[in-house]
């Protein structure tokens, strides 16, 4: 328990101390929101899909969480490069607690970013259907954060250098993001694409947030919740296993 807490606390301290990272983490989603939201809004409307900002906002929140989370998980590579990793490797505590504390810390900061992005979307015309459902939506953010922190940690445990980070970003995170239905509705996409997207856990996260924030879900919020939680547990297990096998 204390292991989980101290690992969580470390993530908090590092995140809130790093002002440039805080600002940088918000820049990208903001750019996507404004450029795509205003740029494609009229096309979206003309296609009879309604208000694009409403559709896009949950996707952009999801984007800020997945990018922040994977980046955070992969910071294990930084720990390895700068040596701190060894301090945790020789600590007489269970590997799963170390990984869980880290994941929880990363998920908390990711959900925090998600909430800030949500607040920003309110200024560009997004309004959730029910304020009461914002709280479970934050829970979904936390869950997406847990899942992708674990994915990032797995990547960080498997790769020892920054090239590995680029690999994960370009071949895992970007495809997951584009296939998640964050930017466009998957319903209109070719069948093959829709089929692949069924294996994208982020798609369920975005779906759950749309369900809670704009009242439109394809799979059902509880189903999304179940998938996210199950996949998060699997990746946490994998990350712990990979971490226990690290040799320096």
């Amino acid at each position: 328990m204390t292991t989980i807490y101290i690992m969580w606390l470390r993530e908090m301290k590092k995140f809130f101390r790093n002002k440039s990272r805080l600002v940088g983490a918000l820049g990208q989603p903001l750019l996507f929101l404004l450029a795509l939201g205003y740029g494609l809004g009229s096309v979206f409307r003309a296609a009879g899909q309604g208000n694009y900002i409403e559709f896009l906002a949950p996707g952009i929140i999801g984007m800020s969480i997945i990018f922040g989370s994977v980046f955070n998980g992969m910071s294990l590579i930084w720990d390895r490069q700068f040596g701190f990793l060894k301090e945790t490797l020789v600590a007489p505590v269970s590997r799963i607690n170390i990984m869980f504390g880290r994941t929880l810390g990363g998920a908390t900061t990711a959900a925090f970013q998600g909430v800030v992005v949500l607040a920003i979307t309110l200024f560009v015309g997004f309004h959730p259907t029910s304020w009461g459902l914002v709280i479970p939506a934050v829970l979904v953010m936390l869950l997406i954060g847990l899942l992708f922190n674990a994915v990032g940690l797995l990547g960080g445990a498997l790769f020892s250098d920054f090239q590995g980070f680029q690999l994960i970003m370009n071949f895992v995170v970007m495809p997951l993001f584009f296939l998640s239905g964050s930017l466009f509705p998957l319903q209109g996409a070719p069948a093959a694409l829709q089929w692949i997207a069924r294996f994208d856990p982020l798609a369920y996260g975005i779906d759950a947030m749309r369900g809670l924030l704009i009242g439109s879900s394809v799979y059902g919020v509880w189903f999304d919740f179940g998938i996210l939680a199950a996949v998060a547990v699997v990746f946490l297990g994998l990350a712990s296993w990979a971490f226990s096998r690290i040799q320096v």
Partner: protein, 263 residues
């Protein structure tokens, strides 16, 4: 007490085709001050990594305080503290937070933890900088903090891999005085590597010299000098290991071999 706290039998470690540690056996008595000497790339750090659960051996048996680092890493991890050769602090945390983090991970009760952190920070003369971020520290200050951290949880064994590298003579003396006191008062076993031969001669009760992955001599400083017919440990060391200059660590050598192959 004659019981061995560290026991190494026929230990082998290979990285690909490079044999970093070639069938070494030695033991360290409880409460002993033991120096592990050798030129760069001789296999010192690789051996320490295997003793401290960071690397698994290719073959051989290890016992640390009666436990096997491969089969029961948790028990082994509880028994030692370590000061690594390269930095292992979190630069984005303060000195105090680095200590606190360590104390919590090692399950120290809050009150003991706080008072001991105070005491150790005072000892390494960092108490006035305890709330500064480690990234603002000089190399020597970081080293001192790592030494304090390695001792925080009252380990039975303290591993020090070139702990005095980059320290001024004042700090070095101060540090050894403290470690010797800890050793005589609390019976902490001290296992260290160093390139300063005078330091090894002065501090260590027993010395093992490793070269090219093999232990080539063991004994007290006096015994090694006598064995080689020399007057200082430095001369004895050179007589044992030759004067040829070595490069890189065994692990780097292995990576270089891999790189050369993949080209």
């Amino acid at each position: 007490m004659a019981e061995s706290i560290i026991e190494v039998q026929n230990l082998i470690k290979t990285f690909g085709e490079v044999e970093a540690v070639k069938d070494i056996s030695f033991s360290v008595e409880r409460g002993e001050r033991f120096a592990f000497l050798g030129p760069n790339g001789a296999g010192k750090s690789t051996t320490i990594k295997m003793l401290t659960t960071l690397l698994s051996p290719t073959a051989g048996t290890l016992r640390i305080d009666g436990h096997d680092p491969v089969a029961d890493p948790a028990a082994v991890r509880k028994s030692f503290g370590i000061v690594f050769q390269d930095p292992s602090l979190d630069d984005d945390l303060t000195a105090w937070e680095n200590m606190e983090f360590h104390g919590v991970l090692y399950g120290m009760p809050t009150a003991t933890r706080r008072s001991r952190i105070e005491e150790l920070l005072r000892f390494v003369e960092l108490d006035d900088r305890k709330n500064s971020l480690v990234k603002e520290f000089s190399g020597g200050m970081k080293r001192r903090l790592e030494i304090a951290r390695g001792l925080l949880h009252h380990p039975k064994i303290i591993f020090l891999d070139e702990p005095t590298l980059g320290l001024d003579p004042q700090t070095r003396n101060h540090m050894w005085q403290y470690l010797e006191k800890l050793n005589s008062d609390e019976g902490v076993t001290v296992f260290f590597t160093t390139h300063y031969m005078d330091e090894a001669d002065r501090v260590a009760e027993r010395i093992a010299v490793i070269d090219h992955g093999k232990i080539i001599a063991t004994g007290s400083g006096a015994q090694l000098k006598q064995q080689t017919g020399t007057h200082s440990l430095e001369e004895a060391f050179l007589a044992l290991t030759g004067r040829e200059i070595r490069e890189e660590s065994a692990q780097n050598r292995m990576q270089a071999v891999h790189r050369a192959r993949s080209r």
